[in-house]
Symmetry: C2
DNA sequence: GGCACCGTGCGGCGGCGACCGAAGCGTCGC
DNA sequence: GCGACGCTTCGGTCGCCGCCGCACGGTGCC
């Protein structure tokens, strides 16, 4: 019953307005819980500095923490917080062609990330876009007039034993803008369910320590059988 | 082809991390162009300070400017920028019950804003939510499995002479979270078209200097005939 | 119990940036 | 052409905050 408040907006934005805190939140987009020390090393700052940043992010409601023994685990507070970081990151991305210094390792890592990765709790990268496109092509997902599952899409999830939560205020599907592909891919509760199922069925396995995934041979067959996605589309 | 960059994210967030700049962007959510002086008075800072802030927001790509005589008009750069501010503001809103100092004038202004207002380029407030609900109830909009217009919805727009852009990468419909109602309402190209039509037909007219709208008698009849919305639902 | 380790509180340092006032420049109106 | 007006540029001040090193408490391991 009140107009939006500039102070609150500024306070929220200030949480992400520091490069170190921003890097922490981007790292946490993998959906896992990290320890304070891991994040300190990942961002290249001292332990005390990282501790301070994390306290601030928790106090601001962006992160949730959980103490376990002598470790402090933090994760993104909820899907809303994750959605916020995604939105901001997507808007920030349009890099104006600048060729940045790169070495072989970063090229490899970027390439793995571009092929398949998690985006908080759903599948992204070329894989995420390919399956979104395939689902649209097969009439499971309708993008003509919005972004929604069709009846056939609901049936498809049921048929393959992927449970969709009926409950909850969380939207069943949501469009998420991809960093690398510059296209939208499937997010929301259905996107998360599909990602969980893919990991549980070992269609994808984590590659390395980040968010990157590798599609297994088993997974290549599954994607082809279920959605007609050729393995060549994932390279 | 690269992972999201913390520096760019932080730079973008920093644009909104100052209360004065945040207030400026919130004011610009009405979709109009403001002069630098208007924004300076609105935010309560000196002209030189405001000028500095605006330059920074323009340089950051959030605002677009247009010089006209001795005035400098600024507006939100595009719908992406508006979407960003909306998302951030919606997340920032959850005010923890704090009773803030209020006088009669602010109560009146808040009430007008809660009833009907523009949200960048579409209709929001109780009116926006009521028509979104009515369109859903009548099968024009489907929220069961996402957020999309139905065939009947497309026909409804055509039938009432409200042109929907076929072109463009902008999504036809999008769900926007309402500040006051805490519910989603219709945004995207269709929401903008409906808002334009409502203003052109004088179903709503601007009330005061802000984003608030007033539903005319003519408009009350129109909403009832078109979507079965009773006037009592808008009070 | 002793030790290694993870995280936190504190003091201090340095830099960024938000703000203002005054001076300057272009535009509009009489 | 003159003054009024809107905006910008330039110094200068002040407070905030990101960072570190260090000391300390708490936890787990041997």
């Amino acid at each position: 019953m009140h107009a939006p408040d500039g102070n609150r907006l500024a306070a929220l934005a200030a949480l992400l307005a520091d490069p170190t805190r921003a890097r922490m939140c981007l790292a946490l987009l993998d959906g896992r819980a990290w320890t304070a020390g891991e994040l300190a090393r990942h961002t290249g700052v001292g332990a005390s500095t990282a501790s301070d940043h994390l306290s601030r992010l928790v106090r601001g409601g962006l992160l949730a923490q959980q103490r376990q023994g002598r470790h402090r685990y933090v994760r993104l507070a909820d899907t809303r917080a994750a959605h916020l970081v995604e939105t901001l990151a997507a808007q920030a991305e349009p890099t104006p062609v600048g060729e940045r210094p790169r070495n072989l390792r970063t090229v490899r890592a970027d390439r793995a990330l571009a092929l398949a990765r998690t985006c908080y709790d759903h599948l992204a990268g070329r894989l995420g876009c390919a399956l979104t496109e395939a689902m649209t092509h097969r009439g499971l997902l309708c993008q003509d007039t919005g972004f929604a599952l069709t009846d056939a899409g609901l049936a498809w999830f049921a048929e393959h034993g992927i449970p969709l939560p009926r409950t909850g205020r969380r939207p069943l599907v949501r469009a998420c803008l991809d960093f690398t592909e510059r296209r939208t891919h499937l997010a929301g509760a259905a996107g998360a369910a599909l990602c969980r199922h893919a990991l549980a069925s070992h269609w994808c396995v984590p590659a390395g320590t980040g968010r990157a995934l590798r599609v297994t041979d088993h997974g290549e067959r599954a994607w082809r059988e279920l959605l007609g996605i050729e393995a060549s589309a994932l390279r």
